[in-house]
């Protein structure tokens, strides 16, 4: 490339009178490669100020061999303010110390004067996580020095990444750091410069021990702040200014207090969890003014948002925590997000007041107790939401909103009012206020008032919640909590989990503050969080919170009975979804027995328990046992809740799914169409739930060979809905894809079948893990397609995995194991391993006969495979 013509274009661009003229020059130049290079050079030119700072040669003479009572051993490194040497003390005790010798020009007398004030305090600090301070003085040439405990080890971030520590292990180390900082804070010592290079982790007896170094140094070496502004200060931080708090970066800095350290701890926690800092600064583009502005004004992504993205770096950072990016995001979402964000609040009044308080909240999060860190305010969230979604689902009736609020939100209050009679008046007031909130929603439902021909439930809810926020201060804490919970549950019902979560968590935090000692209050909060976790697809967290709720309700005795039944019902359902069928069935069976004996009877509760029990039995393959439970459950729920109700819908779904599995599709189809209609009315046509129902309807329709193309259309609709909704759980998309694959298999469209099933398999592997029956079912479809495409070895490998999974999770004699065995038999026939094929098919036929009887198409397929095996054997007989 001709560097001369490159410079001519560069010169012309710099000489251009305005940016548009420059752009014109670049855009019209014929040599694209050169334009790209010149653009890069121009960007470098613009971003690097033209200051001629010639290189300076700093030459340090060898230090004296002794300083004070310390014998110098070797140089450890050099920092912004000086050099660090390893030295040895001989008297009165023999020990190694880190000796920090400051540079000249830092105002020796001032430094030592300031340090003298702190010296006594520093000497008093004795904590395993704080490096001991030993002594200070001046060298013979007048430089100040400090001697402190020598901590061989790595900066905490490098240590964690090097060891690939899990999030839990990182949090454990961080808790120790907080303990050290808290120790200092209690003695009035603020660090002021907490950052990874000041927190070294050394192994002590094989256990990692973090130690904070340099306490007191920053205060001694920083001028009092009147003579420098924030930009200068940021500029003078030679290490990493990203750990500096907003109050330190401000133009007229405030006094520093413990909350400054809390902020820096927040940055550290952010980095430990995500592998990135809230504001990234590259050395190349280091501009103190920009950093200071970011620290003071910049918005910070929540940790879970930061790690969620794709890309190689994200994958590496997640891998350093032994997770995938998605799982890491899931782990950080919720408590950890809010705790980090609270520590990073710009306004220090909203931060934790001490490192101890920060540590305590982390401890609460670890033990599933509600954390005190609240999410940002409602209006902030709604503002963000409004920007994100310009299009809303239109046409939801006021009736639905009422059902949402009373169905979910109010139910919680109904039982709380019953359970705590001594607070009946209070509860009545709360209930009345929540009813008012609902009434306000109706008022907003007047399209004219809302200024549009159509009003969506979302718009109504958003408007009401905003109004709520305005009037909030006038309400007592438990009314606030109740309203937040009602609104949160309403959002959850609409599938807006990200909006629901902060509202519910804020409710939990308020309740925890108002009534921390009541187990019922605590249990209800846990139940609420569990429902949200389940809706979001985080079944493990849902299970943990529900176990907590069950424990707390049980602790409450009589007052907790009703809540206990509700939490156990939910737990049974979550366990079913997690394929923990044995425990799920035990709980559901006990619940049904419990409900049958209840005086006065609770038909709705009994119906829900029966539905849960029936669905578990169906999953376990006991289809005939499941049917009467589901039929009776639905009858009871229709009678209690009405035809059009979320809970009734769930019972309809359970029964319909079973009918489809039993190949009684003619009975299932009208039920499914009813559910589809309910769901569209309730949530709008684009809601993930609609995708799920469409899938089930597709299953029913696809049982009729003459309606395959109708079934394909339905599945494709389902896939489209689930693909396009940002919050649709991936496992639902996997289900639709897998069923679509099954349909393609039946139509002998092998390549389409292989592609759909392998996408389904990959999604399930990530969402559910390798040992889940649903993962196996996608692998099964894939194996069938591969068999047809001639890849028998891969097909066999997949099928053996499938059978292992089914046998392990569902038992040897489950029809799904048998079904997979039939296909393995076919693949083995193709591989001409006839004896193996025969024994496999015989076993499969046995099981299928028992499960479905001789006429069912699955039993027939086993017979057909046996016939084909015999034929293949006969063909081969002559030659082998």
């Amino acid at each position: 490339m001709d560097i001369g013509s490159e410079q001519r274009l560069f010169d012309d661009c710099l000489a251009a009178p305005h940016p548009a003229a420059r752009e014109q020059l670049l855009a019209t130049h014929p040599d694209g490669a050169m334009v790209a290079r010149v653009r890069r050079l121009l960007a470098l030119h613009d971003s690097h100020p033209d200051e001629l700072s010639p290189p300076r040669l700093l030459v340090g003479a060898a230090p004296p061999r002794r300083i004070g009572c310390f014998e110098i051993i070797e140089r450890l490194g050099e920092g912004g303010i000086g050099e660090v040497w390893l030295a040895e003390q001989q008297q009165p005790v023999r020990r190694r110390v880190a000796l920090k010798i400051l540079k000249f020009g830092l105002g020796t007398r001032e430094v030592l004067g300031r340090f003298e004030l702190e010296r006594q305090t520093l000497a008093l600090m004795t904590h395993p996580n704080v490096a001991r301070f030993y002594d200070a003085g001046t060298t013979s040439d007048g430089r100040p020095w400090f001697a402190m405990e020598y901590v061989p080890g790595l900066p905490i971030t490098r240590f964690c990444d090097g060891q690939q520590l899990t999030v839990a292990a990182r949090l454990a180390l961080f808790a120790e750091v907080c303990a050290g900082v808290q120790h200092a804070h209690l003695r009035g010592v603020i660090h002021r410069d907490l950052k990874p290079s000041n927190i070294m982790v050394a192994a002590l007896d094989g256990r990692p021990l973090p130690k904070i170094i340099d306490f007191g140094i920053a205060k001694a070496t920083t001028a009092s702040g009147e003579d420098t502004d924030g930009y200068t200060r940021v500029g003078h931080m030679l290490g990493t200014p990203e750990y500096m708090s907003p109050e330190q970066a401000q133009l007229s800095p405030l006094d520093i207090d413990a909350r400054t350290d809390v902020y820096s701890l927040g940055v550290l926690l952010y980095e430990l969890l995500t592998g990135t800092r809230p504001y990234e600064v590259t050395r190349d583009s280091f501009d103190p003014a920009v950093i200071a502005r970011d620290i003071i004004d910049g918005a910070v992504e929540r940790p879970s948002q930061r790690v969620g993205g794709d890309g190689e770096e994200g994958a590496q950072r997640a891998a350093a925590r032994a997770l995938t990016p998605r799982l890491l995001a899931q782990k950080l979402r919720g408590d950890l997000d809010w705790i980090v964000m609270r520590a990073l609040e710009k306004d220090r009044q909203r931060r934790y007041v001490s490192a101890g308080e920060l540590a305590a909240d982390l401890e609460r999060a670890a033990s599933d107790r509600p954390v005190t860190a609240g999410p940002p305010s409602l209006s902030y969230l709604l503002g963000k939401f409004a920007r994100r979604h310009r299009i809303a689902v239109a046409g939801i009736a006021g009736l639905v909103i009422a059902s949402l609020l009373f169905g979910s939100g109010m139910a919680a209050f109904a039982y709380s009012a019953l359970a705590e009679r001594d607070r009946a008046n209070r509860q009545a007031e709360i209930a009345q206020r929540v009813t008012q909130f609902t009434a306000d929603l109706f008022e907003g439902a007047d399209p004219a008032a809302a200024g549009s021909s159509e009003v969506t439930a979302r718009q109504l809810l958003d408007a009401s919640v905003l109004r709520l926020e305005e009037e909030f201060d006038d309400e007592s804490e438990d009314v606030q909590a109740a309203l937040l919970e009602a609104a949160g549950n309403a959002y959850r019902g609409l599938g807006e989990y990200q909006l629901a979560q902060p509202l519910l968590e804020r409710a939990v935090a308020l309740r925890a503050g108002a009534d921390a000692n009541s187990p019922v209050v605590h249990a209800r909060a846990l139940h609420s969080q569990a429902a949200l976790a389940r809706a979001r697809g985080d079944l493990i967290q849902a299970e943990n919170r529900l176990r907590g709720a069950v424990r707390e309700f049980a602790r409450a005795g009589d007052a907790g009975q009703e809540g206990l039944r509700g939490a156990r019902l939910e737990l049974a359902q979550v366990l079913r979804l997690r394929a923990q069928f044995e425990e799920a069935e035990t709980i559901a069976t006990e619940l049904v027995a419990d409900q049958e004996g209840l005086q006065p009877a609770d038909p709705g509760g009994l119906g829900m328990a029966l539905t849960a029990q029936g669905r578990i039995l169906a999953e376990r393959g006991r289809l005939e046992d499941a049917l009467p439970k589901l039929q009776r459950g639905l009858r009871l729920q229709r009678r209690t809740f009405g035809d059009f109700d979320q809970r009734t819908s769930e019972a309809k779904e359970g029964l319909a799914e079973l009918l489809v599995t039993l190949a009684r599709s003619a009975e299932a189809e009208p039920l499914l169409r009813e559910i589809l209609e309910d769901t569209r009315r309730m949530y709008g046509a684009r809601h993930p739930k609609v995708g799920v129902i469409l899938n089930n309807l597709g299953n029913a329709v696809s049982d009729f060979a003459e309606r395959y193309s109708e079934a394909e259309r339905i599945y494709l609709d389902s896939v489209a809905v689930l693909r396009n909704h940002p919050l649709a759980p991936p496992k639902e998309l996997a289900t639709s894809l897998n069923n679509l694959a099954g349909l393609y298999l039946r139509q002998q469209r092998w390549i389409e079948a292989r592609d759909a099933s392998s996408e389904a398999g990959a999604l399930r592997l990530e969402a559910l893990g390798p040992d889940h029956p649903h993962t196996a079912s996608a692998q099964l479809s894939q194996a069938l397609a591969l068999n047809k495409l001639g890849d028998f070895d891969q097909a066999e490998a997949l099928l053996r995995q499938v059978i292992a999974t089914y046998s392990g999770q569902l038992g040897q004699r489950h029809w799904q194991s048998a079904n997979a065995q039939v296909y393995l038999g076919i693949v083995l026939t193709n591989l001409r391993r006839f004896a193996e094929a025969r024994s496999t098919l015989d076993a499969a036929e046995d099981t299928l006969l028992e499960a479905f009887g001789p006429e069912h198409y699955r039993t027939q397929s086993a017979r057909k495979a046996l016939t084909e095996l015999a034929a293949a054997r006969a063909r081969d007989g002559g030659t082998s």
């Binding site: 290079r37 290189p55 040669l57 050099e83």
Partner: protein, 185 residues
């Protein structure tokens, strides 16, 4: 080397005598190096060596004042090259000392150019500058004069016998080119 001898070399180099320039360069290099080392020996504490200050001092020592700019330009070419070489030597030695655990502490700072640490910076500048010298020798000379001999745009332009406006344009381009060559973003 006597002051008169340097003056004679400056004049000869100015007339294009290559051998004269080489001898001048050797003299200037030796003087600058001696000054830098002496300063380090003398001071028992850390010192900051400013190339500009050293170069000016060397000028006064070697040539005295009162010579015309034409001659001085030759001196600054020699001084810039020398300073660059001295800095590179220190940086290399420092890197080696780091690996070998030596005690001498030499740091370069103040480079507005990217890189991991001071020493790497100097060496990276050196590499990039060598590449630039192959493609556009005049730009490399300009950088050396500005950077290592501390000349202003106007003085550097006069030394290179180009207009200040051209020097300014060259400087902008060379700076961006070096930043790019050193992997800046």
């Amino acid at each position: 080397m006597a002051t008169g001898e340097v003056t004679r070399l400056l004049a000869a180099a100015g007339d294009g005598d290559r051998a004269a320039f080489d001898r001048l360069y050797a003299a200037v290099y030796a003087e600058l190096r001696r000054m830098a080392a002496g300063r380090m020996r003398r001071e028992r504490r850390a010192v900051t060596l400013q190339p500009t200050a050293l170069v000016n001092e060397a000028w006064l020592r070697l040539a005295g004042d009162g010579t015309g700019f034409g001659s001085r330009a030759q001196f600054f070419f020699a001084a810039g090259e020398s300073m660059r070489r001295i800095l590179v030597e220190y940086a290399r030695r420092r890197l080696a000392a780091k690996r070998g655990g030596g005690m001498e502490a030499v740091t370069l700072s103040g480079l507005e150019l990217p890189g991991a640490g001071g020493e790497a910076d100097v060496l990276a500048v050196e590499d990039a500058l060598a590449r630039l010298a192959r493609e556009r020798p005049r730009l490399a000379q300009l950088v050396t004069l500005r950077f290592f001999a501390g000349l202003s745009i106007e003085d550097a332009a006069a030394a290179l016998e180009i207009s200040p406006a051209t020097a300014k344009r060259d400087w902008s381009f060379a700076r961006a080119w070096l930043l790019d060559a050193m992997g800046a973003r």
